[in-house]
């Protein structure tokens, strides 16, 4: 049964963006300093997920995919979801850890990814309905569009299952 479910998961690899409409499962595997940012549109019942690697480009990057940088990923996600229901969108933010501890001169990439995404989401007034970021542990997650169920995994811990359908739809009415 579990395997059947897993085959339906659309996994966003590093720098990738995946979209699901009506139903489907979106996820990321093994997020370290990377951040999975998922935008959900309750009216369109659609979700788009980017696996963000870095906050912003450092100079020109001809090889970049839109999902690679926070600054390009968020506009790309909004465009994929279309414009009509922009005010009702909600965000889920997962990742941005610093898995190697006791580093000297750390680049703080995980923390900077999270900070940049907060800034970008706030500027667009998109509320974050679920966030699990920072710390020192890698994360994997799956979001089931049909049920609103989020499954979050970390090594050495049992999976966390959260049903976000209420948070998503409740805020949808308010928006």
């Amino acid at each position: 049964m579990l395997q059947v479910v897993r085959t339906e998961v659309q996994l966003a690899g590093m720098g990738e963006i995946k979209v699901a409409r009506g139903a489907g499962v979106l996820g990321c595997i093994g997020l370290g300093s990377c951040v999975g940012v998922l935008l959900y549109d309750p009216v369109a019942a659609a979700a788009a997920l980017a696996h963000v690697m870095l906050p912003e480009p450092n100079g020109a990057d001809p090889n970049a995919t839109p999902g690679k940088y926070a600054t390009t990923a968020l506009p790309a996600l909004l465009e994929l979801l279309g414009t009509p229901y922009a005010s009702q969108r909600k965000a889920i933010l997962i990742g941005g850890a610093e898995v190697f501890q006791n580093r000297q001169n750390t680049l703080r990439i995980g923390a900077r990814n999270v900070e940049k995404l907060h800034e970008l989401l706030q500027a667009r007034r998109i509320p974050i309905v679920f966030e699990d970021t920072g710390g020192h542990h890698g994360r994997s997650f799956e979001f089931d569009l049909a049920s609103g169920q989020l499954t979050l995994r970390k090594v050495g811990e049992p999976p966390q299952v959260r049903n976000l359908s209420h948070a998503l739809s409740m805020l949808a009415k308010a928006g």
């Binding site: 590093m14 093994g30 300093s33 090889n63 850890a97 190697f100 006791n102 580093r103 890698g138 090594v155």
Partner: protein
């Protein structure tokens, strides 16, 4: 610089440099453990796309890793990674005991792996120094035990941070009868590759 821009000669040279460097590192590990390790021929990887193909599936499997910044004439990052079961082999050899799972991991076990990485990377750099007359020094290795994909992607992203593309020298070493496997990456800064080629005269 990408592998397509790297001439065949320079790719061979990088493989050979990796081989000599890691030969020194693995000899040091053999001296420490009394176990003979088999070294694979290094690969030169090009990481100029966002897609990183992970060498140790499954991606969520528990892995122990260390990374240390190298400063001097060949700047970069040196990383040693061990699947959890292989780290347990090292712990048993070096301390007589090993943590059964992540909850039993403590500072002692961490420091053992850090020391292994310290000695191995130190010997890697010594071999490079002898070849090139470079002056190289390293930071103390940082430690992590986490999902394989989280460790590898964090390393790649950090190395990609300041440059658009990346050359990585990857080598695996193993103990045939013991289910032991280790992975070594050296992620040189792009600019410092030119310096290396000049030092070895190609």
């Amino acid at each position: 610089m990408t592998t397509t821009e790297l001439s065949a000669l320079r790719q061979d040279a990088l493989r050979e440099i990796g081989n000599i460097g890691l030969g020194g590192a693995v000899t040091a590990l053999s001296d420490m453990t009394g176990v003979l390790f088999t070294l694979e021929v290094p690969e030169v990887l090009e990481l100029n796309t966002t897609q990183v193909h992970f060498v140790f599936p499954p991606e969520e499997s528990l892995m122990v890793g260390t990374v240390a910044r190298v400063e001097g004439d060949w700047r970069g990052e040196g990383a040693f990674l061990f699947p959890w079961e292989s780290a347990q082999v090292l712990w048993r050899i070096l301390t007589g005991t090993a943590p059964a799972d992540l909850s039993e991991l403590n500072e002692l076990y961490e420091s053992v792996i850090r020391e292994v990485a310290n000695i191995m990377l130190g010997n890697f750099l010594t071999a490079i120094t002898q070849m090139t007359q470079f002056e190289l020094h390293m930071e103390p290795p940082a430690f992590a035990a986490d999902m394989a994909a989280a460790l590898l992607s964090s390393l790649m992203v950090e190395a990609l941070h300041d440059q658009r593309e990346l050359i990585a020298i990857e080598t695996r070493f193993s103990v045939p009868d013991q289910h032991f496997e280790g992975l070594f990456f050296y992620l040189p800064e792009t600019g410092s590759l030119q310096k290396l080629f000049e030092a070895v005269g190609i």
